[in-house]
Symmetry: C2
Subunit: 304 residues, 2 copies
């Protein structure tokens, strides 16, 4: 039982709640065996979800009243064999969060004007899925095949002025290729078109990722324009550099150097040596599309 | 000005706050031109961070008092040219969240026992980095090269009993290959070893990703054991199936079918045709390691 209730007798509180609920309707709750419990939505994994934004009792419910309602609801859900509880809480109702935390709930995630808390009820470790664990960054290696030059930049605010490919974080819902094209344009003013995926880096506890992981993807692009208009807010300088020079110089990052060698290999011996091609396919459930990247399949295997 | 204050005269509140701060120390605040403002940590991007878990005034500060402190602090930060404010709020102090929200703050993210709110102060759209946008799922295609059979499962709780590769979500901080090995073992009892990355799928608004995006990676593994011990909690059945049959059957998902064709191509003509190899490299800043995936480079290009 939560420390929030230690100063008062539970039976007295419970009968006060019963009286209160007699005087007004606590929408989103129901009476079960003399106790008032919250109504939740059951999911197919055996979890129950209560959205405090949907339940009309929350605007004026007291913290002690909510605590009791939650205690009795949890007792009921456990008795019914529910495996977990999700509690969605609009920021306006945040005074109820410490009550939920005192009964074992923790933040699962929060965005904008609402937080989602969770509590695992079943035996053993929680099997609830984690919230998003990765930020996605994309860099664009724009190679001009007519002269073997690649577009490189130097970031502002860095200790070492290393040459690298323009790039940055994907916005939510943005495809990998679209991020590459956008970042190249924002940083250098060069218009370019996604061709293939070249390399992926996974890094945990990434600085700047709020303690989470980083997935960094480097794409090959073809230029559609060539004139550089430097974004001086982000970049110190930008230029078209011989890919062979970028592959050789120490004035770059280890990953840029590695990808420059890949690009050089592809430029000299055919990009099919280094490319993952992309295909857009319809998703069965959502009606949306997904992007699939892999090595090109010979025609004879595509319809095997 | 927030609606929270509309019923009371601000000057009266402000002098009450001044009196209160005379009587006790508000640690984590300072007096600037007659107003009390919060002390924050400045970052190199021009943002300021206040952690309410570090500031000793929060346990007993009133909501109105905090609202006034925040109003005056924001005015000060704007005057100082700060571009953004990060507010870290332990769940125990959640009653202060609606106050912050009423002054424009929104949830940036939350995990466990704390939430982080943010407010963009500078002109134009927010340039604050988003929190993690992707969950990462990994499947393991375990191919027995001695007989061309691959390990496939059918999930429980699905409409259609399609054959697919065992897999699941990465835990926070878990490498791609480690997830593949763990999921294969958990679902089938088969021990297998990561070999290469074969394919990547990016999908937005993924069902089950809490409105976020999904990055799904399919790896090639070599079996270390062969006896199947089915996890009946997750799987309906599991078996070793000819990869040529999996590439042919309609009793599978589109992605599994595609990857089966890739596997068949690699099995018949050499895995170098389809693999992205992995290399672990040290990260400059953190002292940790990252994993880099790309097409194998010929020796002559590795040291160009």
């Amino acid at each position: 039982m939560s420390a929030l209730f230690c100063g008062r007798a539970l039976p007295a509180l419970r009968s006060a709640l019963a009286r209160a609920t007699g005087a007004r309707t606590l929408t989103g709750t129901r009476n079960v065996g003399g106790s008032r419990v919250m109504e939740g939505k059951l999911d197919r994994f055996g979890g129950v979800t209560v959205d405090l934004g949907d339940t009309l009792f929350t605007p004026d419910i007291g913290e002690e009243e909510f605590g009791l309602l939650l205690t009795d609801s949890l007792q009921r859900w456990r008795a019914e064999g529910r495996v977990a509880v999700w509690l969605k809480v609009p920021v306006a109702h945040s005074r109820l969060l410490p009550v939920a935390a005192s009964q074992g709930f923790a933040f699962h995630h929060a965005r904008g004007d609402r937080a989602t808390l969770s509590l695992w009820l079943a035996a053993g470790d929680s099997r609830l899925p984690e919230f998003a664990t990765h930020q996605v960054g994309v860099a664009g290696a724009v190679l001009d095949e007519s002269n073997g030059k690649v577009l490189v930049v130097q970031d502002k605010n860095k200790m070492k002025n290393a040459w690298k490919f323009p790039g940055g974080l994907s916005n939510l819902g943005e495809n990998i290729g679209a991020t590459a094209e956008r970042e190249v344009f924002e940083e250098t003013g060069v218009r370019a078109e996604f061709r293939s995926l070249l390399s992926i880096r996974q890094q945990h506890k990434h600085p700047g990722a709020f303690g989470m992981s980083d997935m960094y993807l480097i794409c090959r692009l073809s230029p559609l324009s060539f004139r550089i208009h430097l974004c001086t807010q982000e970049c110190l300088r930008a230029e078209w550099m011989e890919v062979a020079e970028l592959a050789r110089t120490s004035d770059t990052t280890p990953i840029t150097s590695r990808v420059a060698k890949l690009l050089l290999y592809g430029f000299r011996e055919g990009f099919d040596k280094v490319d993952l091609s992309m295909e857009e396919l319809p998703a069965v459930y959502t009606g949306l599309f997904y992007q699939l990247y892999h090595r090109q399949l010979p025609e004879s295997y595509r319809h095997s």
